[in-house]
Amino acid sequence: MSFAFTADRKKRFNALLKQYPDKRSAALPALHLAQDQEGYLTTETIETLAQMLDITPASLMDTISFHTLFHTKPRGKYLLQVCQTLSCSLAGADEIVDHLSHKYQVKAGETTPDGKYTLLKVECLGACDTAPVVQINDDYYEKVSKDKLNRILDKLP
């Protein structure tokens, strides 16, 4: 379970180290890079990254666990992040959560047994004009309704 960047990512990581005035500042970009590659951050990944950044794994974990976008446990192939903050809530976000929860038989925070979907309730995604908003992995799906969401989900590979 050891971790190493792919050749391409390694190049990008090295470039990061050159760009930032100190090593530690490259932590967040490096974490995004690693999580993007691995899906989530394992103990080994964190230890390796910490070493590359010249900090202790504890110190890196401190940073990781503060920021909600980093995951240290396996998650589904699709991260269904439903915004639940006021504007989305006014636009019916709760129903969207209920719908997904029912559709995949999971509660918020859980992953389907086949490892395909993780349902998360998240806070304001900064797209309140197109509420309700669901972010699936990196992509925003806006002004979603149950039907629209079904169509989107059905098209996912």
């Binding site: 760009q19 930032y20 005035p21 100190d22 530690r24 500042s25 490259a26 932590a27 967040l28 970009p29 974490l31 995004h32 950044l53 900090i55 401190d62 940073t63 990781i64 666990s65 503060f66 920021h67 909600t68 976008l69 980093f70 639940q84 903050t85 006021l86 504007s87 809530s89 006014l90 636009a91 806070e123 304001c124 995604l125 900064g126 797209a127 309140c128 004009d129 197109t130 509420a131 972010q135 990196d138 992509d139 925003y140």
Partner: protein, 433 residues
């Protein structure tokens, strides 16, 4: 609508508006070129000071004045950080500016960098905006390829590079000191001020943090002059174009550019087409979720600029307007925000860490019909204990390191005070009697 011609969003919706070539073809980077080749730091600071451009990130601090705090003749590197963390519920203007015109922002950053003698600037963009981050990176790349960024830009003597930095998901990282910690690869725990970032910020070097919208104004100020800028809007003390974000119960939610000081009712009923299904307006949050909610009565004739909103007991904040019609359950809305703040408290200060969750738990009990009469006072007390007494006329009285404490207390308190009857209606029968 009025005859106001959009400035910041004039190219929004045009095909290719996000590309360098489009931008250049429409007069882009003239201002930056001028700032780099023909102006010195003092010229720019004086100009921006005179323009009265106030920060659009929330606090409304005059940008030029902030820049003038950066120590001169200081051997340390200086840094500019563009705050694109945009996390305040109800706010989505920076995303729009980035999507439609990233080069306007980059140009603004070149001007600001030049003013404070910065050679490495950052765009701290919230992690969820992955697409926007890629777009900005592409824009930066275009600039590097054409001597707009890099060494000796525009053929002069000035070097500048910009790095796009994706956050990791934390509202508090929009607070400038938390942002700086996060940029340093640490948890986003705000630092104690003073020292202010202009004196000791990123890597303990002088650092200026400005919002996307603030920076996007700069090319226009340099091109058209400070006097021109002061003439936009209702008052030269708080002038300029402003992006207002309308969401909630309105027919046409979206970002609307209008002169600073435009009436809130105009924005709601003219720009955004009125309430959904024409229902009666109950209330609106005028400046992002941290701004105390205003009732329909309070909104009459209210001008949307920094001083007017402060006078009305709220704030312009980020310009995020959340509209609520008569169907809105204000207890649920209040609980929704309390939960947001509890989730986002960084947990450093005792009152904020413990108080936000306590509030949420009490409010949740309320929404479940298990409230107690004394909880109403308790909620008031807890908010006071986190954010200090809510008295806008006397300034901020928070008891926490950063203004998050106030940002959670004031809105909750306003909900309670202004819609007390709705809270009481939630009490179980025995309690209400």
């Amino acid at each position: 609508m009025s005859d106001y011609q959009p400035i910041l969003t004039m190219h929004a919706g045009q095909p290719g508006s996000a590309t360098r070539d489009y931008y250049l073809a429409n007069g882009g980077y003239r201002a930056a070129r001028r700032a780099v080749l023909d102006m010195n730091s003092d010229d720019i600071i004086q100009m921006v000071k005179y323009s009265n451009l106030q920060g659009r990130g929330g606090a409304g601090f005059p940008a030029g004045v902030k820049w003038s705090f950066v120590p001169r003749d200081d051997k340390r590197a200086k840094y500019l950080i563009c705050n694109a963390d945009e996390g305040e519920p109800g706010t989505f203007k920076d995303r729009m500016l980035i999507n439609h015109n990233p080069h306007q922002l980059i140009e603004g950053m070149i001007i600001a960098s030049r003013a404070i003698d910065c050679h490495l600037a950052f765009i701290y963009i919230r992690g969820e905006f992955a697409k926007e981050a890629r777009l900005l990176e592409a824009a930066v790349e275009e600039c590097r390829a054409s001597n707009i960024l890099g060494k000796k830009i525009f053929g002069g003597k000035y070097d500048l590079d910009i790095l796009v930095y994706r956050g990791g998901g934390a509202y508090i990282c929009g607070e400038e000191m938390a942002l700086i910690e996060s940029l340093e690869g640490k948890r986003g725990w705000p630092r104690i001020k003073p020292p202010f970032p202009a004196i000791e910020g990123y890597l303990r070097c002088p650092t200026i943090v400005n919002n996307v919208e603030t920076l996007s104004n700069l090319p226009h100020i340099v091109n058209n002059g400070a006097e021109w800028f002061r003439g936009i809007g209702a008052s030269p003390d708080s002038p300029g174009p402003k992006l207002y974000c309308l969401s909630g119960h309105v027919r046409k939610p979206g970002v609307y550019e209008a002169p600073m000081g435009t009436k809130l009712t105009t924005l709601i009923f003219t720009h955004a087409g009125g309430t959904t299904e024409g229902k009666k307006l109950k209330a609106a949050i005028p400046g992002g979720s941290s701004a105390p909610v205003l009732t329909a009565d309070e909104i009459e004739d209210l001008k949307m600029d920094f001083p007017s909103l402060t006078a009305a007991g709220s704030m312009l904040g980020s310009g995020g307007i959340i509209v609520m019609d008569e169907t809105t359950d204000m207890v649920q809305a209040c609980y929704n925000l309390a939960r947001f703040y509890a989730h986002e408290s960084c947990g450093q200060c005792t009152p904020c860490r413990e108080g936000t969750t306590w509030l949420t738990k009490v409010l949740r009990r309320f929404t479940q019909g298990r409230g107690r009469m004394e909880d109403i006072d308790l909620i008031g007390d807890i908010t006071d204990n986190i954010g200090g007494l809510c008295d806008f006329s006397k300034g901020s009285f928070g008891k926490t390191i950063c203004p998050f404490g106030e940002a959670v207390s004031w809105p909750i308190r306003a909900f309670m005070d202004k819609f007390r009857d709705e809270f009481e209606a939630y009490l179980p029968k025995e309690e209400a009697a």
